[in-house]
Symmetry: C2
Subunit: 402 residues, 2 copies
């Protein structure tokens, strides 16, 4: 299948591109390299060394004999996007090309505006490009479980049957996103649903949980194929960050009470889920939503698992509770449905000791590159202008150690 | 009270500003004059002559002795917005400053992108200006009943109690907006709700029905105080347009079956509703939603009322059914709650014969200015690139006459 991967140079986009290429699909990457640019701007870096997009693609060609084509382009520049669509004539588009960090979106007005403009208008451009150049193409869009927030009822997959005053209807599930980033994904969902209705486009909106993990069958084949591994306060997701903190003998930092429960998914399952969505596309005009995660954990549970596993390396890991920089319920009901991808054939890689061990081991191996100043949260949801200093904001002082 | 009216030069913003000024409030208008610019661009015009913002304000001062201050500025230019907030230190902000036409937003990509950028990012700027310069100020935001779409259950005011799998929660009412314009208002609603939560802002989101009418107690005092009256395909709302069509002996144009039912409200009630919201503000941190309309009608009902009333002027008015340029349910359940503004004291001006008579009379008086080429719909929801020609698109041909 001809597949265009928007944002194919990122943490998920790159292993996704490799995976789809390994399965014989004709993969084209479209990426503006903005994630690498942010590293340059802030002095951040992936814990694991990553190669340039050109080196990556050349290495993959050398190893697999397969070609991945690359467009350096921006979804905000319609002509760049349009020429990729015109040239590739994609049958599926996987859309990762968004600013993907909640803390980034909460730094200040400039970063909030960038996030919502880039994500919402970028996706609007993707929708117009689909309509104009590839109306039969299947859009596979990365959304987030964070669109739902933490309602006091079960979370369903995109839609819910509501009974009210003696009548009933199946309606979009109400959204309560918790950052300007999460809001941008909610806006996207509404725009995409509408375009499926008016233009007969077809789309799968994947409300993805928090992704952890580093290796896939493809990236393991050569160090030049490695994907990035972020542990910093802006881009590092909880589990990856905990493993780095454990490896460096830093306390595992929990925001607030740590009872925040979320859906999680292994990187290997993410790329498989997207393949499953691609090979079983929705009908023309259909907008469908899958909740893309495999297990639920509270932050404390994750931290305890990491602390426990780190003992195997002779590490004594502490857990540290910080006052919460985010505005969120710290204790809440959480039960989210996630059956549709299982029905399509997903066989989950559940979180286990050996996976945690491999992540901690990875962090130990790259221990010399760990920069503590990148880890502690400095972006406060309650403040409209955050200075991202790399020393940790005194506001997020240690509340207690466990 | 110090009140900043964003978009205070428009159809609603102007009479709103006059009304609040007449009540003794200290009113400042902030407007980028974009609605007038669109007229210049397209060769459109208000049916009734309107004065420049400078002449209007001077006339009001002459007649009432009251001053309205004016900032020519754009919500997209944060520094312009910030200086108005800094100078005025508003206690309430009424936010009309959005691109307000559904057909405009559906013309092509450029117009869709403009609508969503201007409205969503403009409002994001307003939220940051509130947080930065006036955190206790009450935001009164104009939304639309069109955010809800036409669900098969009763529409509530912003939130709905959902019972699901033995649990229940009160959640944001699910939204199914029907154009890129309506979507922009839904995006705004989510962003505003979030800022009330994280920053403790206070906001009233008014999901307004379709406004009809022309005169208020203030605009009637002098011809120089008149507000605009649009009947064109882009900005003309259904009832105003029907009255113009009747006056000019053109058939009343109904899109599709005409059973589309919506909420409607008299201009006089709109400005009173906003006053009611202002004088009974929400608590700090509260986000509340009122459905701001007084009656529901189907398009056919409205057309029949206008046809009936036009007989008083000796007019024989036909009703014409056009194939629907929009993608919408043409027959549907519709029952929307609208009690909260009544509870605050609204005494509705319901649609009656004498109001219709006055609108038709107005259109007859200005009959020489009616341009038929502005009336017929040329923007097709199903097409991504509409040429707005002024001759009527052959696609929207007459289906049948009644």
């Amino acid at each position: 299948m001809r597949i265009l991967v928007l944002g194919g140079d990122g943490y998920l986009g790159w292993p996704q591109s490799l995976y789809l290429s390994s399965k014989g699909h004709d993969v084209t990457i479209f990426d503006n390299l903005s994630r690498r640019h942010f590293d340059l701007e802030r002095g951040f870096n992936s814990l694991t060394p990553i190669k340039t997009i050109h080196e990556r693609v050349a290495a993959w060609n050398e190893i697999s004999g397969r070609q991945i084509q690359v467009y350096i382009g921006d979804t905000m520049e319609y002509e760049e996007l349009a020429s990729a669509f015109r040239d590739v004539q994609p049958e599926a588009v996987v859309h990762f090309a968004e600013q993907r960090s909640a803390p980034y979106s909460m730094i200040d007005r400039k970063h909030a505006v960038f996030t919502q403009t880039n994500n919402v208008i970028g996706t609007l451009n993707v929708l117009y490009a689909l309509k104009e150049f590839a109306p039969g193409c299947h859009l596979v869009k990365l959304g987030t479980m964070g669109e739902y927030g933490t309602p006091d009822i079960d979370i369903e997959e995109g839609f819910i049957e509501i009974h009210h005053n003696g009548r009933s209807d199946v309606l979009p599930y109400p959204k309560q996103p918790g950052s300007f980033y999460h809001l941008s994904k909610t806006h996207d969902s509404h725009n995409i649903m509408f375009c499926c209705k008016i233009w007969g486009l077809r789309a799968t909106d994947l409300n993805q949980g928090i992704v952890y993990g580093f290796e896939t069958d493809q990236t393991m084949q050569d160090a030049r194929l490695a994907t990035r591994f972020d542990y910093d306060q802006i881009y590092g997701t909880a589990l990856n960050r905990f493993c780095v903190q454990a490896a460096a003998s830093y306390p595992l930092s929990i925001y607030g009470k740590g009872q925040q429960t979320r859906g999680y998914i292994n990187l290997k399952d993410t790329i498989r889920c997207i393949e499953l969505a691609i090979i079983t596309p929705p009908a023309q005009g259909e907008y469908r939503v899958f909740n893309q995660f495999t297990e639920q954990f509270s932050v404390v549970e994750l931290a305890e698992m990491v602390a426990d596993q780190s003992k195997r390396f002779g590490l004594e890991t502490q857990i540290q509770y910080l006052s919460n920089p985010r505005v969120e319920a710290e204790q809440h009901y959480y039960n989210a449905t996630h059956t549709r991808l299982i029905e399509l054939g997903l066989q989950p890689h559940l979180l286990n000791g050996s996976l945690l061990e491999s992540l901690i081991d990875l962090a130990i191996k790259h221990g010399e590159h760990i920069d503590r100043n990148q880890i502690m949260p400095t972006v406060n949801w309650r403040v409209a202008k955050n200075a991202i200093n790399n020393q940790g904001d005194p506001l997020f002082k240690r509340v207690s150690d466990q």
